[in-house]
């Protein structure tokens, strides 16, 4: 009947959505399980799947499938370490700055609130090219190009506007009377925040922290500009080593695929965590004002 046909159509659409979302990820995963000769033979699945490319990436196997030496393992590992350090730093500092301000902008009556919200919104519209290049010049002159500090600071120009925005919306959407009833019960302002509001806000704050981490982990342009070629290079910066390598080291598309999968794994884990919270992190209408 109509409803059976409707269900059939729905399942088809769902299948299409799954194929659409997953096929690029699927193909890079299978590429990482093949060797170069198999890759150019147009297989749709790895005929002899192996983890060898991952072992090569981390230095447990020293040669490529073609016998050439693969020497980038040290850079890969250092890149991973640096990316984790930077992402943690960026998350901590971002949350430290945005949780109080998200609360203030979302729930308190402030003069100049619109101006501040406008400032945040404005920062989100900045094209990376406009912000990054002055940074490059400026950090170079300050001798912090190629350092963890420099990379952290420049990534915050991405995370802070987004997380502040999200938290502002999140805090303003929480029930109005929570703090009021806590204060009526005798708490002062800070206790009202800590005991009554914070437990409710915790999932949103956690989700925002994850978003900050993800944006830092995923950042390429800024961290490449600032950290490329230095000991503080991030993992994404390391990946560019595969892009322009000349043939003497033997082209390694399969090891490249493996290294991309490593980067993407974090994203996959995060996606699993975040999907529950995305709908609760409601968009805020810049016109609403806390009462």
């Amino acid at each position: 009947m109509a409803s059976a046909r409707r269900r059939y159509v729905l399942y088809l659409l769902t299948l299409a959505a799954v194929v659409w979302s997953l096929s690029p990820v699927y193909q890079i995963i299978i590429a990482s399980a093949m060797d170069p000769k198999q890759l150019i033979s147009h297989y749709l699945y790895p005929p002899t799947p192996s983890f060898d490319n991952y072992l090569r990436l981390f230095g447990y196997i020293k040669t490529t499938a073609g016998g050439a030496i693969f020497g980038l393992a040290e850079q890969a590992i250092q890149g991973l370490e640096n990316s984790i350090i930077v992402a943690v730093l960026v998350t901590v500092i971002t949350m430290a700055a945005t949780v109080p301000s998200g609360y203030a902008l979302g729930r308190l009556k402030l003069r100049g609130r619109t101006a501040m919200v406008g400032l945040l919104l404005g920062s989100r519209t900045l094209p990376p090219v406009s912000v990054a290049l002055p940074y490059y010049f400026y950090f170079t002159a300050l001798h912090i190009r190629g350092t963890i500090l420099g990379t952290t600071v420049i990534q915050m120009s991405v995370t802070i506007p987004i997380v502040a925005w999200v938290l502002m919306g999140f805090f303003s959407a929480l029930p109005r009377d929570i703090e009021m009833s806590a204060r009526m019960d005798g708490c002062n302002r800070f206790q009202a925040f800590a005991r009554a509001l914070l437990p409710l806000a915790a999932p949103g704050i956690a989700a925002s922290a994850v978003i900050a981490f993800l944006f830092s982990w995923n950042d390429f342009f800024y961290s490449w500009l600032i950290s490329s070629g230095s000991p503080a290079h991030t993992y994404n910066t390391f990946l560019t080593a595969f892009l322009g390598q000349s043939s003497g080291s033997a082209p390694n598309p399969t090891i490249f695929a493996a290294s991309v999968v490593v980067q993407v794994l974090v994203a996959i884990i995060v996606a699993g965590f975040l999907q529950k919270y995305i709908t609760s992190l409601k968009i805020v209408d810049p016109g609403t004002v806390a009462q």
């Binding site: 150019i40 073609g66 980038l72 001798h143 350092t147 322009g244």
Partner: protein, 496 residues
């Protein structure tokens, strides 16, 4: 003060405290490799971000100070691009052990190597040795980051052992040497795949010139229909892809090994125009692409390795590439071309050889961590190991990657010959002779010594791609190339 304000201040304090704690962490693990200058050899201790360190003679408040007493004296920095990085690390280990140095490698992204290198120097970082291509070094010297080799220890002795043509390639317009040879090679050199060619009427033949390739041999193979596209040229979308091909081919076809007649003259002014040899060359390119002689996939390839990988599939009759890349076309582990079927086009009288001499050299930076360490390292890599009197890197590179050495004795070294034999087999003597003949016929573009060359090349190589692929007309493309050349010349040398 209200509790809210207290909370806000608390947050700021925590954040700053976190940053300070991190600075201490980074400093204690020497994560930040900037080393400050110390007049005395006592070590400097690290400090929090709010204090400047004591006992250093020079440091700014913004620089994190990291050093331990064992590192400060013998730390060196070597900046290079990505090529056989494991081999380079081995060299470094040997050098460090023999001479008690502690060298750190800084590997920069290949595709943006020159701007990244220049910015690295601009940031004040101290470097003891760096790679550069021949056309980048005059800029480094002009910018004050590098120095020429006039006062390099033993330079006359070193020069007396080198090929004169390589000395010339590694010298400024004024004739002072600016680097020791890391490698040289010929690029682009047209090679044939006999496995494919044997199925056509051109069996056993080789194109006698680039013009022949685009207008005769190529279309003949295209008509034969044995492959989808006869040629994949070295036209990948990077400045050292299609950009170098333009330079090399202009010099070959016009019998002008240094390009002073058809590219850039000795005053660094452009002598190509919208009509004439440059227009003829680009017209040939555009017709070849239009006629299906050239695989248009090359225009979308941004890296050398992609183009070589395509060549290795064995699906083309002609692959033009660098000599060291041609080695990969001959190795069964990386190439589908049957062994012995990939062969060089020999130099002929119709043009001055194939390609140009491209060089990579070891440069001598001005601001080093340790002057003796720098000269020691450059000597070890670029000349010989003075302790044993033997050349280490030159034979090793020749064997591992078919890179040319600046010293004639490398090709006389029996281990090197054995190395070539391992992949050339019975063709060894023929090939080595072809290399010698070709090298005698080609040269390095004089324009490479111009300060305006690199920004010009970086801007116009996409234009070459547009013209070759037919998007832009030949005259429009050449007009742009000429305008950019003139405007860059104006920036660096005043008015034309």
């Amino acid at each position: 003060m209200s509790t809210g304000a207290k909370a806000g201040i608390g947050v700021v304090v925590v954040a700053l405290g976190g940053v300070a704690a991190y600075e201490a962490y980074a400093a204690s693990t020497a994560g930040n490799k900037t080393v400050t200058e110390t007049q005395t050899s006592t070590s400097t201790q690290t400090s929090t971000a709010t204090q400047t360190s004591t006992a250093t003679q020079t440091s700014t408040a913004t620089q994190t100070v990291t050093s331990s007493s064992t590192q400060a004296a013998n730390a060196l920095t070597f900046v290079h691009w990505s090529f056989e990085n494991a081999q380079i690390t081995n060299y470094i280990k040997t050098f460090d052990q023999e001479n008690s140095w502690n060298t750190t490698e800084d590997v920069l992204d290949n595709d943006n190597y020159n701007p990244l290198l220049e910015s690295l120097f601009a940031s004040g970082q101290k470097v003891d040795m760096n790679y550069a291509n021949g056309y980048e070094v005059p800029r480094l010297i002009e910018l004050g980051y590098g120095q020429d080799f006039t006062n390099f220890p033993n330079i006359s002795q070193i020069k007396s052992e080198m090929y004169p043509s390589i000395i010339e390639a590694l010298s400024t317009a004024a004739g002072t040497m600016f680097g020791l040879c890391y490698y040289w090679s010929a690029r682009p050199w047209c090679t044939v795949n006999d496995a494919v060619l044997n199925k056509t009427s051109l069996k056993g033949q080789r194109p006698v010139s680039w013009t022949d390739l685009w207008t005769q041999s190529g279309p003949t193979v295209a008509k034969a229909g044995v492959v989808q596209y006869p040629t994949i040229p070295n036209w990948f979308a990077a400045n050292y892809g299609i950009g170098w091909d333009f330079m090399g081919e202009m010099q070959n076809v016009n019998n002008d090994p240094t390009g002073v007649k058809v590219l850039f003259n000795q005053q660094f002014q452009p002598v190509f125009d919208t009509t004439g040899p440059a227009a003829d060359l680009l017209t040939n390119w555009a017709s070849a692409t239009k006629g299906g002689v050239v695989d248009p996939a090359v225009f979308s390839q941004a890296s050398e390795s992609d183009t070589v990988a395509s060549g290795s599939t064995g699906n083309y009759a002609y692959v033009s590439t660098a000599f060291y890349d041609w080695q990969s076309l001959n190795l069964p582990s990386t190439s589908n071309i049957p062994v012995g079927d990939s062969n060089l086009c020999p130099p002929t009288s119709q043009q001055a050889g194939w390609g140009q001499i491209e060089t990579g050299c070891y440069c001598w930076p001005k601001k080093t961590n340790n002057d003796k360490g720098a000269t020691d390292m450059i000597t070890w890599f670029g000349y010989k190991d003075e302790a044993t009197g033997k050349r280490i890197t030159q034979p090793a590179w020749a064997i591992a990657a078919a890179l040319g050495s600046g010293f004639p004795d490398t090709l006389e070294d029996p281990t090197v010959i054995a190395g070539y034999q391992s992949w050339l087999g019975s063709r060894t003597n023929t090939v080595l002779n072809q290399v010698q003949q070709n090298t005698a016929a080609i040269g390095t573009p004089f324009g490479w010594k111009s300060l305006a060359f690199v920004p010009w090349l970086d801007t116009i190589f996409p234009v070459l791609g547009s013209v070759a692929s037919g998007v832009l007309s030949v005259s429009a493309g050449l007009t742009t190339m000429l305008n950019v050349a003139n405007s860059q010349y104006k920036t660096y040398y005043g008015s034309t």
